[in-house]
Each structure stands twice: as structure tokens, then as C-alpha cells.
Assembly symmetry: C2
Homo-oligomer: 403 residues x 2
């Protein structure tokens, strides 16, 4: 699972999917910036979209496509978010689907559209048209790496994964590409994730699974607390594996669900670890909460605290900032029953600082991956939030660019 070989395959690891990423001149850097993912066999589609009320044009278009329940393709670009672009923006997003549909011999409402990049700028549609046409020409079973690179911005690498699971005697494959925070012209921390699978699954079940899984994966990461106008996660399931269709919540569904969840968690962690300017990957486990929502809220409060994030950047075991963020999380807690650990070492317990071995803790703070355990000592529920630190580089990436 998640072998290097599979990773390279990404969204084209499942049967029947091709992909491409090309240079269309939309990114100022001249890097790959238009991606197309395609399945000739029509796929069940599920999508989860940003809750930001200032949603970008492609979000509006893709919601309609996802609403039809099936799709053949995804067309995506980086370098321009097509957000806050009014009627023209909507027309441009629709046109992206139309161009792809024409080239792929399908209908425009079979094409998911996604964009990430600068807000308030219109897409250069001449470049886009040429780019989509070129991408379709280049569709191949080896195209996932280029497609992945065509959707990243300030990400330091393209996030992808691939895996497989046996369901009903058939090998079911999954692949995915995702991008995290940042822009070549830093504007928004957009999160895009495209997942493919050759499983045959009922569309309603697929959507239900995705919606549930997003809550415990992508919705559990925070780089800087800013929810983008363009966030999107979609799954295309084309049924090419030939399994007997998953149409009830049986063992097959559970296997499918577990695998999809694993992929989403894996990519979520990668996105958090590659947050803008990040030097640390923080896993915040909250246990002993009354319910999941409380546990998540406490974890997010800690994950979003600039004081906590800068402390970890400085490798300072400043547990006071962590317990402070727990205290103002708006979740009813009891300082006296709360325990905080860094890398398994208790640093705060039952109202006061815990005694710890300085050199042991120093080693933990110096590592790239740090686990923060927060036990509220109230209930039985837990949640895990993934985050990163706040560095000079974050300020540089987001402050030094001039529009």
C-alpha cells in the first residue's frame, strides 16, 4: 500500500483512467498549470465543496456536475482561482467544461471544473482553451504525475497516493492527487483533491462515504485557519474493476469506506505537513472529550493558535500556550482533569506543569513530526487534528508578494 510505484501512478492507478498536465501559460512561472483527468467509462461522482460563501465560479459549476451523479472528466488549473470574477467568471468556468467535453466527446455537465490561484483575476481563456486541448491530446496512463504538478502552487511537492483493496474477489484500485496551501502568487490556501477508483459503487453511497470521511480527514487540518474560496474534493468511481456493484452498507462497502478514509487521511496529513513555510508537522490528539465535535474544537483551537505555532517553530516546549488555547476553545473543560503530553511526555497535568526530563523533551521538540496529546478527562470521545508551525517563511511567502 502506498508504494512508490503506486504513488507515481496516482489517479491513473485505477483501471480506465488517464490523465495529463500541461503548460498553458497561466502560472507566471511557466510551470505545468492545466490538468485533465478522464475516464471513458462513465463514473459515479461525489464531491464536497468549500463552505465559504464567497465561493469561486468553478465551485458553482462543479456542484451542478456533482449533482447529476455521474462524470467523465475533471479539468483543473492553477495560477488563477477564478474567484470574485462575477458573471464573466461563471461563463469562463462553464466554458472550461465545454471545451473539455468537446475534446472528450462527452457532455459539459460530465466535466468537473476546479481552479486555484489569484483571486479577482479573470482566466485568460485563449491560453486555457489551448491548454485543455493540449492536455486532452496528452492523456495517458502515465499522466498522473504531470496532472498532480499542474494543480500545485506554493506546495513544495505534489501530494499523491495510490492503493488497492480486494472487494468481492476483485482488486479495487484507488488513486489520488491533491494540493495544499499556497499560490505562486500567494493569495489563498486552496485545497484541491481528486480521487479516482475503478470500484463499482452506488453514487449515493459514494457521496455519503465521502461526506463523512471529509469530516475526519480534510476538515481536520489547519495551516492558517483560512478557508479558501476554491476548496474541493471529488471522487470518480468508474466501475472498471468489475466488482459486483456496492449498493448497500455491507462488508464490501466497509472495505471501500476504510480504504477511501485511509487515502483522505494520508493526503490530509501531507497537506498539513507541507503548509506554507512549515518546518514541523503537528499531530494533535484530543481524547477524553464528551463528543467528537468538542474534541475537534479543542484540537482546532490549539492548531490555529499563532502563539502555539510560533512556539513549535522555535522548538520551545511552551505548554502554557497549549493549555491556554484549550481554555479558550469554548468547549467546557476542567483544567484539573486535563493532561497535555508532547511526544508522550506529560508537560501539564491536573492544573499545573508536570516535571519532565529537559533533554528528553528537547529531543522531541527538535524532531520534524511532533505529537501533542490532550486528554480532557471528561468523556470517551476523541479527534485528531493535523497542523504545522508558523515560520518566518510563512510571513515571507504571504507578506512579500505584491499584487
Amino acid at each position: 500500500m502506498f508504494s512508490e510505484e503506486h504513488k507515481a501512478a496516482g489517479v491513473t492507478y485505477p483501471q480506465g483512467f488517464t490523465a495529463a498536465g500541461v503548460r498553458a501559460g497561466i502560472k507566471k512561472s511557466g510551470n505545468l498549470d492545466v490538468a485533465v483527468i478522464y475516464t471513458e467509462k462513465k463514473a459515479a461522482v461525489a464531491g464536497v465543496f468549500t463552505k465559504n460563501q464567497v465561493a469561486a465560479a468553478p465551485i458553482h459549476v462543479s456542484k451542478i456536475v456533482a449533482g447529476t451523479g455521474t462524470a467523465h472528466a475533471i479539468v483543473a488549473n492553477a495560477g488563477c482561482a477564478n474567484a470574485c470574477t462575477g458573471e464573466q467568471g461563471l461563463r469562463d468556468a462553464e466554458r472550461m467544461a465545454e471545451i473539455a467535453a468537446q475534446e472528450l466527446n462527452c457532455k459539459s455537465d460530465d466535466v468537473i471544473v476546479a481552479s486555484t490561484g489569484v483571486i479577482g483575476v479573470n482566466i485568460p481563456m485563449d491560453k486555457m482553451e489551448a491548454g485543455i486541448k493540449n492536455a486532452v491530446k496528452n492523456l495517458s496512463r502515465e499522466g498522473s504525475v504531470n496532472a498532480g504538478n499542474a494543480i500545485i502552487t506554493t506546495d513544495t511537492y505534489s501530494k499523491c497516493c495510490a492503493t488497492e483493496v480486494e472487494i468481492g474477489g476483485k482488486q479495487i484500485r484507488f488513486g489520488a492527487i491533491a494540493k495544499g496551501s499556497g499560490m505562486i502568487q500567494p493569495d489563498m490556501a486552496t485545497m484541491l483533491c481528486f480521487i479516482t477508483t475503478d470500484a463499482d459503487i452506488d453514487q449515493k453511497l459514494l457521496q455519503e462515504a465521502l461526506s463523512e470521511i471529509v469530516e475526519v480527514s480534510f476538515n481536520m487540518i489547519s495551516v492558517d485557519g483560512d478557508m479558501s474560496t476554491n476548496d474541493m474534493v471529488t471522487v470518480l468511481a468508474n466501475g472498471a474493476a468489475g466488482n459486483s456493484k456496492i449498493s448497500a452498507k455491507d462488508d464490501d462497502y466497509k472495505k471501500f469506506y476504510a480504504t477511501l478514509e485511509k487515502i483522505c487521511r494520508e493526503l490530509s496529513k501531507k497537506i498539513a505537513a507541507d503548509g506554507e513555510g512549515a518546518t514541523k508537522f503537528l499531530t494533535i490528539n484530543v481524547n477524553g472529550a464528551e463528543n467528537f465535535a468538542d474534541a475537534k474544537q479543542v484540537g482546532m483551537s490549539v492548531a490555529k493558535s499563532p502563539l502555539v505555532k510560533t512556539a513549535f517553530f522555535g522548538e520551545d516546549p511552551n505548554w502554557g500556550r497549549v493549555i491556554c488555547a484549550v481554555g479558550y476553545s469554548n468547549v467546557k473543560i476542567n483544567p484539573g482533569s486535563t493532561v497535555v503530553k508532547f511526544g508522550g511526555i506529560p508537560v501539564y497535568a491536573h492544573g499545573v506543569g508536570a516535571k519532565y526530563n529537559d533533554s528528553e523533551l528537547k529531543k522531541i521538540m527538535a524532531a520534524h513530526d511532533i505529537v501533542i496529546d490532550i486528554d480532557l478527562g471528561i468523556g470517551e470521545s476523541s479527534a485528531t487534528v493535523w497542523s504545522c508551525d508558523f515560520s518566518y517563511e510563512y510571513v515571507k511567502i504571504n507578506g512579500e508578494y505584491h499584487t
Copy 2:
């Protein structure tokens, strides 16, 4: 009003108040660190305290003192927050009040206690005892400046103000000292504010006025979104001005209220402008909201966004980040009816970017004080939030310190 002469007077500007600030060796820097404010004439007292559930020991003690309705003194220190210090911390906070009471010949429940500094460290009580005794010996009508300096941490200057108003034919004076975000050993962004007045006013009215005013002043600032374990605002009103006691919501009360509000807003702005590492002072006016709570929530969403804050640090007129933060504020908005202005210049209007003169906007972004106007175009309510930018210096102050 707020003349330089008055400012120097600070909390000792009202009749009957004395103050002192001394070096007790609690701050590692050796700077002033223990302050006492005193009124021989017993004062009505009102207080508003942090809502952080991990509240420091002095918060617990001072809530009880404020609950009695009257007080003679405030004893405060910087350099040690006395937070997460358990039973010992509570005993130390109580002992601070006892020592001051003994020296001042009053009862220990007449003494408000406040601390700011490192979390999880016990107060060196021998130093504290000597410090309080020394401060009481040095109480004077000129002691406000030293008292103000004894409560600051990474603040670049002590915030204070003084003013007067005529009520019922008597000159009523007000004075205040406050501290904002930061620590000599950066740990918490503690906000402390001590206000004095020689007005004679009913304690319940005083508390009601303060509680209301805090909502539109101190609770409208955000430096980094972290709510401290030690935040506190108190007012002492000793009646030395000899006005006929304010005991109803009449014109006298309104005058008193307006002046107290002015002081609290003035100090709030100073605290925001002197946020850790701040290079810009941001005033975020939200208009056209359905109610105050909505307007505040939108303003806070923008004020707390690291992407917005780093953009202003970089003097980048990145309105996309502002409208994005409006969009995820959880307040129901309509992108089509929303207008955003920087320094009075529309940058986003009705769903799309507005055309503006680049060089004009550049001048606005280069200034220290920048006004962001957000008109939601929905209702009639408004709110103003004060904030600052996010700089390398913020990361340095909070990341480079090692406990």
C-alpha cells in the same frame, strides 16, 4: 482631553489616588515589575475578567474582591503570570493581597491582584513581599508612570490616559494604565487595564457600565486571536470629586458612561497598535450588518486571518484575502451586496474587484494606520474591530524564546 500632562498623571490624575512601580527582581530584565495603586477613600470597584477556563490564580482572587463591591487598592506584577500554579498559586495570590493590605491598613479583600508573565512558574514570594512593601512606601501622586511601566512586558511603551468631564457641576477625573500583548519571556498576550476615577457612582451601575463598554472596546481587539489566562479590566471609583452620587441612568450617568467608553476605546486602540511585532494599525469597520454580533464576527474573522495580516505587513492590497475571510466568518452574507474599501478606496464591490488608482492605493497601504471598511449591504448595524499586522518580528518574539 488626553493631553500629555494628563497622560503622565494616569491613574493618579483623579483625586485621592496614589501609585508606585518598583523593581522587585521578578522580571529577568531587572525592569520595574511590581505596581500598587491606592485610594485611602474606599472605592466602588467593577471588574471584567478573562473567560479563559484556565484562569490564573489572581483572576480567582480578584473576582472575589470585585464581588464585595468595594476596594482600596490594586497590586500587580509583571514577569510571572501565576497561571497553572495550582493551590500554591492561589495561596501566593491571596498572600499578595494580604501583604498589601497589611502595609496599607486595609483588609485583604479590599485588594485587587493581577499578574502577567510566564505560565506555570510560581511567584518568588520573598521578592514579591519586599517589592510590595517597597511600592507602598513609594506611593505618590506622581507614581502612575512607574506603575504603568511595572505592568508592561513586550509592550514597546506603557499605555495610559487621563481625562476629565463635568458632572453635576463637579470636575470628574479619570485615569488609566494598561498593557497589551507580549512578555519579556513571551508566553501569553495578557491584557491588563486599571482605571481610576474620583466620581461617586453606585457600584452596580459602575459594573454594568464597564461590562457593556468592554464589549465594544477591549473585546474588539485582536492581536493574534489568543485569549489570555490573565486578562483583567478594573475600575476604582472613590467619589473624591464630591459629585452627588450617580445612582440612576440619568444624564450624569450618560456623561460618565461616555467618558469611560472613550478611555476604554482609546486604550484598546493603543493595545492593538502595539501588538507584538506590529508595523501597522488596522481599523476594521463593518457596516450594513443585521446586528452588532454579526458585524463583530465578520470584523474578527478578518482581523484574525493570518493571510490578511501578512498581506498588510507586506503592504499588499490583497482584497481577495479580506473578502475570503468575510466569506468564511459564519455570518450569512451576500457577496453581491458587499463592498470592501481600503482607506476609503473601493477595492471589491458587488462580487468582483473594483477598478482603483494603483498609486493612490499604494500610498494608503504604505501608511501605518489603515482603515478597512466592509459594507455587507444587508442591515443597519455596525461594529469596529482594531487589529495589527503579522510580521517577522511576531514570529521572532514568539518563536525565538526558549523556556
